[in-house]
Symmetry: C2
Subunit: 246 residues, 2 copies
Amino acid sequence: MSSPPPLQSAKATNHPLHEQIRASIERKILTGALKPGDRIPFEHELMESFDCSRMTVSKALAGLVSKGLVVRRRRAGSFVAHPPSASTLLDVPDIQADIQGRGLDYAYQLLSRRLRAPLASRREECELAKGGQLLDLTCLHVAGGTPFAYESRLISLETVPDARMADFSVSPPGTWLLDHVPWSQAQHRISAAASDARLSKLLDVSIGAPCLVLERTTWHGNRPVTQVRQTFPGERHAFLGAFSHT
Amino acid sequence: MSSPPPLQSAKATNHPLHEQIRASIERKILTGALKPGDRIPFEHELMESFDCSRMTVSKALAGLVSKGLVVRRRRAGSFVAHPPSASTLLDVPDIQADIQGRGLDYAYQLLSRRLRAPLASRREECELAKGGQLLDLTCLHVAGGTPFAYESRLISLETVPDARMADFSVSPPGTWLLDHVPWSQAQHRISAAASDARLSKLLDVSIGAPCLVLERTTWHGNRPVTQVRQTFPGERHAFLGAFSHT
DNA sequence: GAGTGGTCTAGACCACTTG
DNA sequence: AAGTGGTCTAGACCACTCA
């Protein structure tokens, strides 16, 4: 005889089981324990681990898919997704991919590279450094021969020690970071500013010309990764986004 | 005797059933057949309508919840969600709510109001009008005594005939539209421009000062609703957004 | 107190990919 | 060919909430 319905034994917390499973996997992804491309245990393995039915596991994974953290392929399994490299207003844009996506030649120029401590007077630099050092970079992105954006970036070597050895004279730091930091959250700020003398020379615009300024801080899990300020000639560039109330 | 497993009778399309159900309800919401606050049939009603199990109906509704189109309340039922009025970079922002949310006084001034046909030379105006007339408005938003944004807006009277009678001398058209058009999609464009003489006077900035320009076209279902261009003093304003790869 | 949605199960068949 | 995820069922208990 079959025992009566299992009675949902040991519902330790008040969170539903599928959320616990989702959170458990999500944590592993966000902390980097599971990196992009890594395989996630099969459904039947998770069924055993969490002692639940397949539908429950499936619901948990479906949540991760809808967040874009996981991709699932029949017969192959489930894997941690690669961060999208496409550029929209919402994503962390990769300027190189963006320019090449428009069919333009991309060129890049490293203007300066400096290893330094955070300025004690700048609170956000200290938070970024987290006690370590900062890599301070400035560079120029060029699209089809025309200056596209000036970029000033700080990278926290405490969070991304590998950046110290990376060769940013060839490929831009943004692209490198997208490839080497598994997942991120970002805080954006878009404003407008007038071009000063130095910027005007770099971007080939007149002094005082309106520019779009994008400032972004990026985290990996709860560790700060990088802080970047990109300046675009305002009449040559725009941010696009198609949104539904979704 | 019970018949053998129902064999998924009549799988007309190759879309899964839960997606068909979701699409069916989503369509009703996007076309306005179901308006915000309207009740969605109970799960057991949908089970009968679509002749399927409750889990399948539940999956369909869960999809709509995750899109923010539907809210569900125990014992009460499922309802079409009200569009969010909060303002982020992704949403359709309501300037009035935005300013008041910062604890500043909000003032509003209607500068002009004109009923007119679309200019045949401007393709986007003709698409917006869809054969009807346009309401052409310009106005100024003021926050705490300081000019905040200049707005130039076109409303398609073909899609929103009620706008003809609305009193935009009191409340701004953006707020009115958010309250009267049930759901929308939007296309945004953010750029920077220099302030001209007229704008400088209105916004109280110097001529040539950098300004943030937000252009947005909004649709209700597949009908164009409105097209707006808002200009912000660039050093006084910024667009913020916190994003995760979600 | 009754009915809603929230969650879960233990099966099943199917479609797809390649382990 | 085998094994994965995708979908679906016909039940069940529960928590919540509102008439």
